[in-house]
């Protein structure tokens, strides 16, 4: 449905996106993962028809995203990564403005969303917190009930509770057959909501994976702190895949072998057991770093 073909946009600095090729099927939730500055927003600007590609382009249902933008926007809901509203309006005036620009006549869905996200839209936008602005942006995106949703880092600024409300809504929208593209730098979020994920780094697409296969490939990492050098040796010589950090600390790549991990640990004295916060960087290292570094 959404086809990105050889999409290239190079900025004066030399940065940009290069020869991106991927497509998103109807009814699919597609995660777009990458660290900050990787080119996620640049890709989305081209999908939305805001930017002119240096080469290649994007089509949706066969229509050109740049030339036929106005036609396509009837079906698209867009949530910008950095939201800027009309400063002089209050929340409800802004929602009314966006609704009118879309020719929206029924306000029921809008009011439902306001309630769901517990937003008081009567206040001036200028005085709203980052989280409130994000909620307002989300409501403006979903209230027209578009069939395609393009979301640029949608959960940023939301507290964990609201993140959850949002991700539940994504699941509902998926059930209702919406096509969703969601960029993020948080792996868990994509893992939870998406069917497939594209991973972008330094402007190049390094992988497109099914989330299921990503999960299967995933290796859990634990950091084990021991008390004696002897125990350290014992773990290092065991069947576990280990990596010495320093002193009596070991990093253990568990994979799916949780049983073996626990059995081996029972033979030594453990004073601390930590799961590492898995950053996107780690995931890159896990999936791509070892096999010759495709992203370099």
């Amino acid at each position: 449905m959404i086809k990105v073909q050889q999409l290239t946009q190079i900025y004066k600095s030399g940065k940009g996106i290069f020869d991106l090729d991927f497509s998103i099927k109807e009814g699919e939730v597609f995660g777009y993962l990458g660290p900050n500055g990787a080119g996620k927003t640049t890709t989305i600007r081209n999908i939305m028809g805001f930017a002119n590609a240096t080469k290649g382009g994007v089509t949706i249902k066969g229509l050109d995203c740049r030339k036929d933008a106005a036609t396509l926007q009837k079906d698209i809901g867009y949530l910008p990564g950095e939201i800027a509203f009309f400063e002089n309006m209050n929340g409800i005036e802004f929602l009314k403005f966006v609704g009118d620009m879309h020719g929206m006549t029924d306000n029921r869905r809008r009011d439902e969303l306001i309630e769901r996200f517990e937003l008081d839209p009567s206040g001036g936008i200028r005085k709203m917190s980052k989280g409130m602005k994000q909620k307002l942006g989300i409501i403006a995106t979903f209230m027209t009930d578009p069939s395609i949703l393009i979301l640029d880092e949608p959960t940023s600024g939301l507290d964990p509770f609201m993140q959850n409300v949002f991700l539940e809504m994504i699941a509902e929208e998926k059930k209702r057959g919406k096509t969703i593209m969601m960029s993020s730098h948080i792996f868990e979020e994509v893992q939870r909501s998406c069917d497939r994920a594209g991973i972008i780094r330094d402007g190049r697409l390094v992988a497109i994976e099914n989330i299921k296969s990503l999960n299967a490939m995933k290796s859990r990492v634990f950091i084990v702190t021991l008390t004696t050098q002897a125990d350290l040796k014992k773990l290092q010589t065991s069947e576990l895949e280990t990596e010495h950090i320093k002193d009596l600390k070991l990093k253990v790549h568990v994979g799916k072998n949780f049983d073996g991990f626990i059995k081996t640990l029972s033979g030594v004295k453990v004073v601390n057991l930590d799961t590492r916060q898995r950053s996107l960087e780690d995931i890159f290292m896990n999936y791509y770093g070892k096999n010759g570094g495709q992203h370099e």
Partner: protein, 266 residues
């Protein structure tokens, strides 16, 4: 044209529009009330006491022996050239460039409205608001004159002078709007929108400094507000207005095209 956007732009800019109107009224009522047919000579004597360079630079060099010439000299020589810019320059920037710079342009483009429609709406807003402001000022000036010194104003000449002034400010609006559509940053758009009229003003002042610099009047738009010429040569007034209206329409078309074609990082 998109009504929703038009009224949103009105809501965002009406305060500046009213402030500009107030500024106009202060100058207009002050100058008109200073006119006294019997002692217009007094004001002229005051002007005569100023150094000649200063008089010509500020356009106070017409012989003001009737009300039309009097306000032509003291209002349309300088003040009415400058005050509209207080509204035009920031508003033109607010309508396009600022939205692109901040990112709020998203909420116009991510709707089923084409870029030309958005630019057209914003351009028409700028043009109609400045034209209405100046037309209102023209009318108010007439009313004030009739109240203070009934029968003194030569209505035909006065209306022609205002037609030329409005047309000229539409060209300046066109320049400011084009800058707003070309640049993705407010700062650049504002610099050009303000820089060009200021350059015109400087050239206009310098052209009055002597015969050697007289040729500069062909390089500035402000020389079209030549009050004596407008009053004595009506064909000049009509033609220059017509040409300037054409140029301002062309500037609007070019602006819309530029906005349609450009790439934005929003």
């Amino acid at each position: 044209m998109n009504k929703t956007l038009f009224f949103a732009s009105l809501k965002a800019n009406w305060k500046l529009l009213l402030s500009t109107l107030a500024l106009f009224l202060i100058y207009q009522s002050t100058i008109i009330s200073m006119y006294d047919p019997d002692s217009a000579a007094g004001m002229n004597a005051l002007v005569a006491s100023l150094p000649e360079g200063m008089v010509t630079a500020f356009g106070f060099d017409g012989l003001a022996n009737n009300l039309s010439s009097f306000i032509g000299t003291y209002l349309y020589g300088f003040i009415f050239l400058i005050i509209p810019l207080v509204y035009i320059v920031p508003t033109a920037n607010n309508l396009i460039a600022r939205h692109v710079d901040r990112g709020s342009m998203v909420y116009m483009l991510a709707t089923p409205n084409t870029r030309p429609k958005i630019a057209r709406t914003q351009g028409i807003f700028l043009y109609s608001s400045i034209a209405l402001l100046l037309a209102g000022i023209t009318l108010i000036g007439m009313v004030i004159a009739e109240l203070l010194v009934p029968g003194e104003l030569q209505i035909g000449n006065y209306l022609l002078l205002n037609l030329v002034t409005i047309s000229m400010h539409l060209v300046l609006s066109g320049i400011a709007f084009l800058a707003s559509c070309v640049f993705n940053e407010s700062r650049s758009a504002l610099s050009v929108a303000l820089g060009i009229p200021l350059a015109f003003l400087l050239l206009d002042m310098m052209s009055g400094f002597g015969d050697k610099l007289d040729f500069l009047k062909y390089m500035t738009l402000f020389s079209v507000i030549d009050v004596q010429k407008i009053f004595t040569n009506h064909a000049f007034a009509w033609w220059s207005s017509l040409i300037m209206l054409g140029v301002s329409a062309l500037l609007l078309l070019v602006s819309i095209r530029v906005f349609d074609k450009k790439s934005m990082n929003i």
